[in-house]
């Protein structure tokens, strides 16, 4: 066990380095209103975050991460551009027997800047690389923006694209939807029965027949979706060639330089990804300017696509076998729009776990 004082000292060292890099140190409450986090992550977060009750403020959560309060503070009264750093405990429930810590320090760095987002991406990644040097970590990068651009560029209905985009962070669900939209998976029996039923009459007549009306979901909402289902059943599947490109993209894992050539190669067939690929290229250039060897830097197109995340562009992790990620981060432009009540600013950042850094240093000493 690494002594807590050593972990705290490591955290302070990293925080000082972030401040040195131009960040303003900020604090966040440990008790966060549960409503905001639940609206953002959904009920799934209850399995990961500690929930408690405040007699006045209602349901609260022990801070599961800093990003949400830091973004909220910036959106409420931050000047632009801004760089923030923080150090403090976060709390995550762990599976029985996992042996993972449920309370640990996080030290983070967040950049809110409208100019040259790729340069900001490279700034964060290079800073983390420098601070974690000598620990023999394996950096992995990704770019959820390319995947999202590919979905937006599919030749299919807006409804299908929206359904896919909504589940980008739930890979199993995403795959099931894509399989169905591409005609690779059969229409589920339940859906066929439903379509059969919907053919029996107008939606309003069917609603009428179904008996007493209960609940908040109105007849117009029900009818609208019923009509959309019938329309969707008549939609032709996503073209096999286009679907193949998307499946290929989902499993793309290569050194970043190779990944770029590969993406350039498929861009003519999937032109919608070109702006995202251009951004990827600009980022690699910015990374190279910071001395990152993009010829060997690992790139995985699906990196960062796990539940309870919000990254929508560049993503990165610094990994060590047998440990949770020592550091991770990415771009979360959309989150600032969600939390900013209409306002929006491109943002990128990441966190390091000082406890893991201290353990690695202790093992090396």
């Amino acid at each position: 066990m690494t002594p807590k004082a050593a972990i705290r000292a490591e955290g302070e060292r990293l925080l000082a380095a972030f401040v040195q890099a131009g960040a303003v140190p900020v604090e966040a409450d440990i008790l966060q209103p549960a409503g905001t986090l639940l609206d953002l992550y959904g009920e799934d977060i209850r399995a990961r975050a500690y929930v408690t009750d405040d007699p006045v403020r209602g349901e609260m959560m022990l801070r599961p991460d800093f990003t949400v309060p830091v973004v909220q503070a910036h959106m409420a009264h931050g000047a632009e551009p801004a760089r923030y750093a923080y150090l403090g405990e976060v709390f995550r429930k762990q599976a029985r027997g996992s042996g993972r810590a449920s309370e640990y320090l996080q030290v983070g760095y967040e950049v809110f800047d409208r100019n040259a987002p790729e340069v900001a991406d490279a700034e964060v990644f290079a800073l983390f690389r420098d601070l974690l040097g000598g620990l023999d970590l394996r950096p992995v990068t990704g770019d959820i923006g390319i995947l999202m651009a590919a979905v937006r560029g599919l030749e299919t209905t807006e409804r299908r694209k929206a359904a896919l985009l909504r589940h980008v962070w739930r890979p199993a669900r995403f795959k099931a939807l894509l399989d169905r939209f591409a005609g690779r998976a059969p229409v589920p029996a339940g859906r066929l029965a439903l379509l059969e039923r919907l053919k029996a009459g107008s939606p309003m007549a069917l609603i009428e027949e179904a008996g007493s009306f209960v609940g908040l979901r109105g007849p117009d909402e029900i009818a609208a979706r019923a009509e959309a289902l019938v329309a969707d059943a008549g939609t032709s599947p996503i073209k096999a060639t286009e679907a193949a490109l998307l499946y290929d993209l989902l499993s793309l894992e290569a050194p970043a330089g190779h990944a770029l050539s590969h993406l350039r190669g498929i861009a003519p067939m999937l032109p919608a990804i070109t702006p995202a690929v251009d951004r990827f290229a600009a980022r690699l250039e910015a990374l190279a300017a910071k001395g990152v060897d993009v010829g060997t830097l690992a790139f995985e197109a699906s990196h960062g696509r796990t539940a309870l995340e919000y990254y929508d562009g560049f993503v990165f992790s610094f990994l060590k076998d047998g440990m949770p990620p020592v550091a991770s981060g990415g771009r979360y432009d959309a989150l600032t729009a969600v939390l900013g009540a209409g306002a929006f600013i491109p943002a990128v950042g990441g966190v390091i776990r000082p406890g893991l850094v201290a353990r690695l240093k202790g093992a090396a000493a």
């Binding site: 029985r96 359904a163 589940h167 339940g190 009306f213 909402e221 029900i222």
Partner: protein
């Protein structure tokens, strides 16, 4: 002494006593009708502990009882996967935990439809689609595994079927055996909305202290009952 937690009242208690009785282990409440104590005849070293069925999982997990009879729904809801060992399914107390939606939702047949409806509902109403239940963990695990989003669980400890009619939820997840109460409240079960098929189960606690004497008593009890010779 092996302490066996058994439901303290009602149909579940009677079915439980009948199940043990049919295997030559006679359990009954001792003293007056209102006193919660019991005796066992036909086997040595075993004492019944009359408990609320809802509290038996917790007592098993804490190791305060060695064995316990309660519904698999309650154990799955309250405990982690490896906290207790299943000794035998008892074949009574059958009920299904299901997701049900208003029958007038003619566009919703499956969990997939529920997910899509939840997305549209949230856009229209500004809040997540509410599902009333008391089985928070089971329902959340089920919906998470299926990748359902934009819903929220609202707690309902009773009369859950009425929550949609009364405007406090859009859908429910509750235990049903015949489905009649659901139908009476204008609800319909999703065709793939079965979360858990529950029945009464005899469980063994991993946390309880099993002395050599306890293990010997367990083996003779198990032989009588015709169940596994080791508690786990």
């Amino acid at each position: 002494m092996i302490r066996v937690g058994v439901p303290s009242k009602g149909r579940l208690m009677q079915d439980c006593f009948d199940w043990f009785g049919a295997r030559g282990v006679v359990m009954r409440r001792s003293g007056s009708d209102r006193e919660y104590s019991g005796v066992v005849e036909g086997v040595e070293g075993v004492v019944p502990v009359l408990l609320s069925a809802g509290e038996i999982p917790r007592e098993l997990a804490a190791g305060r009882i060695h064995l316990g009879v309660t519904g698999s729904d309650l154990v799955r809801e309250q405990l982690g996967a490896d906290e207790v060992a299943e000794v035998a399914k008892l074949g009574f107390g059958q009920a299904d935990l299901v997701i049900a939606v208003p029958n007038v939702w003619i566009d919703v047949e499956t969990v997939d439809d529920l997910d899509a409806a939840a997305a549209a509902f949230r856009k229209t109403h500004g809040h997540r689609l509410r599902i009333a239940t008391k089985y928070h963990q089971l329902v959340r695990d089920f919906l998470q595994a299926q990748g359902v989003a934009d819903y929220q669980l609202v707690d309902s400890q009773g009369a859950t079927e009425g929550t949609v009619l009364n405007g406090t939820a859009e859908a429910i997840a509750d235990i049903t055996s015949s489905g009649e109460t659901l139908r009476a409240n204008h609800l319909r079960i999703l065709s793939d909305g079965l979360i858990h098929s529950s029945q009464a189960v005899l469980w063994a606690s991993r946390a309880a202290e099993w002395s050599a004497v306890d293990l010997a008593a367990y083996r003779s009890l198990a032989e009588r009952l015709g169940v596994s010779g080791a508690p786990f």
